[in-house]
């Protein structure tokens, strides 16, 4: 692996403010190929805002985002996703009135050659256990399955970096296990990486290689799961005494 591929995504001194509120402040982080990187923090810490900035849905107020060796233009969603950075949204990251099959196919349209799309849809559906439901209308599925559809859409785009915003909310234990298995499988091929925002601590601690904790938009801590779980600042601000290990 070449030197510049050492980091897939590099976020340098990124800030984003909304009027008087600084949602993200001087954020630095780096995601390397093959890893699952957790981004956690209290509600309103700036995680989704960070997603919006790196995926180009929002322009940063200042700072620089580099993906796969190229600097991304701020505020242009197309640039990031075409380069292979695909993100999901915290809510409703699928098309309600469309079949599951067409939803997943949507994911393939920009990045997969026409001939391979059908196979790719199948593959993503199989991975997430949606094969039975391909002809259902996504909006009629129970909440948990809708989440799986969102993940399938983004996986079908075969991104180099998959950014998932709370993919596990509303999933039951079995489904969480499925998703974690899928994510683990995904990063193992081709040096793909995953950037994960999630409040399900059990899952985060289980799957992440490294974790970065935000608080009020600022860096609070980083490290491997064990370090984070025992960091008193993190326990205080986020995990709560009861959830500390």
């Amino acid at each position: 692996m070449s030197i510049e591929m050492q980091s897939l995504l590099q976020v340098e001194a990124v800030s984003r403010r909304f009027g008087g509120l600084v949602a993200v402040k001087d954020l630095d982080l780096e995601v390397r190929p093959g890893e699952i990187f957790g981004l956690i923090g209290p509600n309103g810490a700036g995680k989704s805002t960070t997603f919006n900035v790196i995926s180009g849905f929002l322009a940063p107020t200042s700072g620089k985002v580099t993906f796969a060796g190229k600097a991304l233009p701020g505020g242009k969603a197309g640039a990031a996703s075409q380069a292979g950075l695909v993100r999901t949204f915290q809510h409703g990251s699928y098309v309600r009135n469309m079949s599951v099959r067409d939803n997943i196919r949507l994911g393939t349209l920009a990045r997969i050659a026409p001939g391979n799309r059908i196979a790719k849809v199948r593959e993503a559906a199989d991975l997430l256990g949606l094969t039975e439901m391909l002809d259902e209308i996504a909006g009629n599925l129970p909440h948990g399955l809708q989440r799986l559809v969102s993940i399938a859409i983004s996986i079908a785009a075969a991104p180099k970096l998959l950014c998932l915003d709370e993919p596990l909310t509303g999933l039951n234990e079995t489904e969480v296990t499925t998703v974690l298995r899928v994510l683990n499988g995904y990063r193992e091929s081709d040096g793909r990486a995953i950037l994960l925002v999630e409040h399900n601590m059990k899952a985060v601690m289980k799957i992440c290689d490294r974790i970065h904790v935000l608080h009020h938009g600022e860096f609070l801590a980083s490290g491997n799961p064990a370090e984070i779980q025992n960091n008193p600042k993190v326990i205080e601000a986020y995990l709560g005494q009861a959830n500390a290990s």
Binding site: K47, G144, L171, G240, N243
Partner: protein
């Protein structure tokens, strides 16, 4: 109102979407002074049940009675006036309105102004992270913050019965603990609660009584403590 009547009594309920049936012959009771939880897999019909109780979906058979009065055909606003509070799936905030306005609307059906003002302060104490953001539009809040607003808004209605559809979705672990404590606290103040939670462990710990819903049918009904140790439940919903 007959004092001995349970807060909520549902029997023989069938409901669905268009021609697709979802709930079959569901019977559920929320006794006075209790926290009742509903657990079940994705798609079991939990949210659908909440919508039926709230009056957003009409049942095709069966009856719902609230505080002893029949309200099978009531509209949501009538239910709310009768003392129901709802934290719906998907939060359903008024995105273009400020936090303050959202909370004020939560108290729309109330006339006791002074008490409303007190409750306003109280919910802000519960979620201090919202305190400084009263004039922020609801849609600008983060996912978890919005969930807090939804809970706060429902509390502003001073309900007698609170329906909570996955209230802790998207909340940070510390806040989940806070909400769990809150549920127990308000229950002690005389608000009855019907709770849906994906995290069955938490739900059953808080609750007094639990129902297990499978494919739109109630398949188990027991004390929460009993369900918590029930091997079938543990296997299916607690992942152990």
């Amino acid at each position: 109102m007959p004092l001995d009547a349970p807060t909520l009594e549902i029997s023989g309920l069938d409901a669905g979407y268009g021609t697709v049936p979802v709930l079959h012959d569901v019977a559920i009771t929320v006794e006075r002074g209790s926290v009742v939880t509903l657990i079940g897999a994705n798609g079991a019909g939990k949210s659908t049940l909440i919508k039926v109780i709230g009056g957003l979906i009409q049942s095709t058979a069966g009856s719902v009675s609230f505080n002893g009065a029949d309200c099978t055909r009531s509209r949501p606003d009538q239910m709310v006036r009768a003392g129901l509070g709802i934290v719906p799936e998907g939060r359903r905030l008024f995105g273009e309105m400020t936090l303050r306005e959202n909370l004020e609307l939560g108290a729309y059906a109330r006339t006791d102004r002074q008490q409303v003002a007190k409750d306003f302060d109280r919910v802000l104490e519960l979620f201090p992270e919202l305190r400084d953001r009263l004039s922020t539009h609801a849609k600008s809040f983060s996912g978890g913050q919005q969930q807090m607003v939804a809970i706060a808004r429902a509390l502003m209605g001073a309900p007698k019965l609170l329906l909570l559809d996955e209230p802790t979705i998207g909340l940070a672990p510390v806040v989940v603990d806070r909400v769990a404590a809150l549920i127990q606290e308000i229950s002690e103040f005389g608000v009855d609660i019907l709770l849906i939670e994906q995290n069955a462990e938490v739900a059953l710990t808080i609750a007094d009584f639990g129902y297990v819903l499978e494919n739109g049918r109630v398949v188990m009904a027991d004390n929460a403590k009993a369900l918590l140790v029930n091997p079938e439940v543990r296997l299916a919903y607690l992942g152990v």
